[in-house]
Assembly symmetry: C2
Homo-oligomer: 418 residues x 2
Amino acid sequence: MSVELTVEKIARAARAASRKMAGSGSAAKNQVLRTLADAIQARTAYIQAENQKDISYARKKGLSSAMIDRLTVTDATIRSMADGLMEVVQLEDPVGAVTRGWLRPNGLQVSRVRIPLGVIGIIYESRPNVTVDAAGLCIKAGNAVILRGGSEAYHSNQALAGIITGALEAAGLPGEAVQMLPIRDRSAVKALLQQEEFVDLIIPRGGEGLIRFVVQNSMIPVLKHYKGVCHVYVDESADLAMAQEISFNAKVQRPGVCNAMETLLVHRSVAPDFLPSMAKRFIKAGVEIRGCEKTCRILADAIPAEEEDWSTEYLDLILSIKVVEDMQAAISHITLYGSSHTDAIVTSDYDRAGRFVRQVDSSVVLVNASTRFNDGGQLGLGAEIGISTSKLHAFGPMGVEELTTTKFVVQGNGQIRT
Amino acid sequence: MSVELTVEKIARAARAASRKMAGSGSAAKNQVLRTLADAIQARTAYIQAENQKDISYARKKGLSSAMIDRLTVTDATIRSMADGLMEVVQLEDPVGAVTRGWLRPNGLQVSRVRIPLGVIGIIYESRPNVTVDAAGLCIKAGNAVILRGGSEAYHSNQALAGIITGALEAAGLPGEAVQMLPIRDRSAVKALLQQEEFVDLIIPRGGEGLIRFVVQNSMIPVLKHYKGVCHVYVDESADLAMAQEISFNAKVQRPGVCNAMETLLVHRSVAPDFLPSMAKRFIKAGVEIRGCEKTCRILADAIPAEEEDWSTEYLDLILSIKVVEDMQAAISHITLYGSSHTDAIVTSDYDRAGRFVRQVDSSVVLVNASTRFNDGGQLGLGAEIGISTSKLHAFGPMGVEELTTTKFVVQGNGQIRT
């Protein structure tokens, strides 16, 4: 069978399964998640044996140790997947909620009722834990999901998918509600992106190249972010000790993720006070500093930043710093170079806090807190399926509710239009 | 300048204008709408003179009288545009609403705040009144909009766009918040669909061909419906008099629109009672009936339906009728042939009403009411910008609120992640 036909068959089966998932109650869905949490722990040896095949292949192909690290399913990875599933069990089931309802003058009772999205395609790179995390959230929201993990994690993902199918069937739900694309090359992704008739949403997770490929080729709506060029602006009225803690946390606590700070903006009146001790702490932590002209005058160690630094997501221990005239200049910089992802102000000024929040057009805007809080778990949504910087449907972290939509239910007693 | 550069320049200006629109309050936005309502009435003669150019050109090109009818701006069209704007003035401004908020254990105050989407591109066909209706809703929601009307309405649309710009500027808002693409051929549409950096949403309104072209070429999220193949299912327990009124209204009241019924499904046990008098009324109103085998046995006048009838949106006085075994067969038919747009059941059975509502996967599902109620105004959303059958962001009629999104605002006092 051609790649296109294979993928269409999978998508069609997913659509059929999605109808059964939509009709299943919380009890059955939670049972799947619990069974799955038990099963992946019980079958650790099997999963790790399959994972070993991928690791050997990756070594042969000469993949970087960072890549192999991400690929490896340790005992801790298994435990964390199981714990994650049990957290999803605890989340409220969003399906069936009446989000709003009203009575029309002609007696029609109108309700907006939350329903699953239907079929979701998730395209991701090396980490096999995404297979279980994403499947768990999609199941909880009553969806079917088609997974396409990185080709380097092929055996690990097939093993996990098989266990997920078993857990679904044990609860009387269709195994086709979670399917892994069995084709290793990109043609399968391209074919999936054409299944508009059967797939409601595509979520790509990975590098900017993968995401651009998906957006360019998809007929199906895509929720994504290309990158996170996140800023902290230290205002002239900032508590400088607080500003230092927030800036350090935003850059150093986990530099390789999308909500880490990439550019620090500092009001010119506090720059001479703030930057030297801040930079000392950064340098001690191994952070390379690339500064604007004014920054370089204050920090002898800083490398002069180039134009492209301001729009670069380093995902590394590198930080660009710019001294700005005032908050308006900081906002203009964020508007020009930012990625609508996460931006923070440190200030003690009531009015400026409000203006920053209103004027910065990002999915998460923070006052006096680290950018690292742009995360579904941290913000209280429960587990997250990703972060969207497209404004449509979901802007910011996407939890289980963002995997649903609403339909209109209209109850009448014979109304017609005149 | 090339088409691509012209369109990019317009999109960039729209983005800049959108920031000013987002920061403007309800008072200024409502002032624009009121000024505009007055201005189009005051300048009726000018608008109609420009409209006459389009009509002459359309006649020369030999366009159908239906097309010319849609294109013509009568005094009533002008009044209706002005009235529509005044209705939008009355709508609640969705921007700034806190849709939800909560406190995290670490003291972070998280809010989801409603904000404008940003820049919206609307691509539509001949009716010039869409220019004013769509601009009005986008302005109310604090967005900038790029309009691309049908080439046959070129002069009418340019005239209306000029008046809108004047109304914006009179209220101190940027004229670039509403721009009409000045290029007549489809290359301008294609170029617009590539402006992902500056445009947040595309709404195409028109025939299926236009909409498929937009979806295939767009890098930007699209809200749309391809077609409305809407059903009424008459259950065995239906009040047959009510069923007749609803079915007649759904088919005949305005057959050329997307929420008109295209297929009538009738439970076999009531078909012999229901169909003859129903058909008589349809035939008297000029409706052509295409029936399944069982229908044709009951109705001598019915033409045998072919397979493709079941998925056809006639938009005309044509109706397909199918006799079904039971409600489950009706739902299966809707699932297979429907378009997720609007479907209704007529029943007096409590349990079946509930099951139909849960199992039919359409944007609007009705019990004992006409499909013609799938309309923003009729359902109480106020004016609508269109109807979406994509599940993402908006499923069903889209009002002013659907032209907004939410961002996360996080207020802290020094929180960092550990």
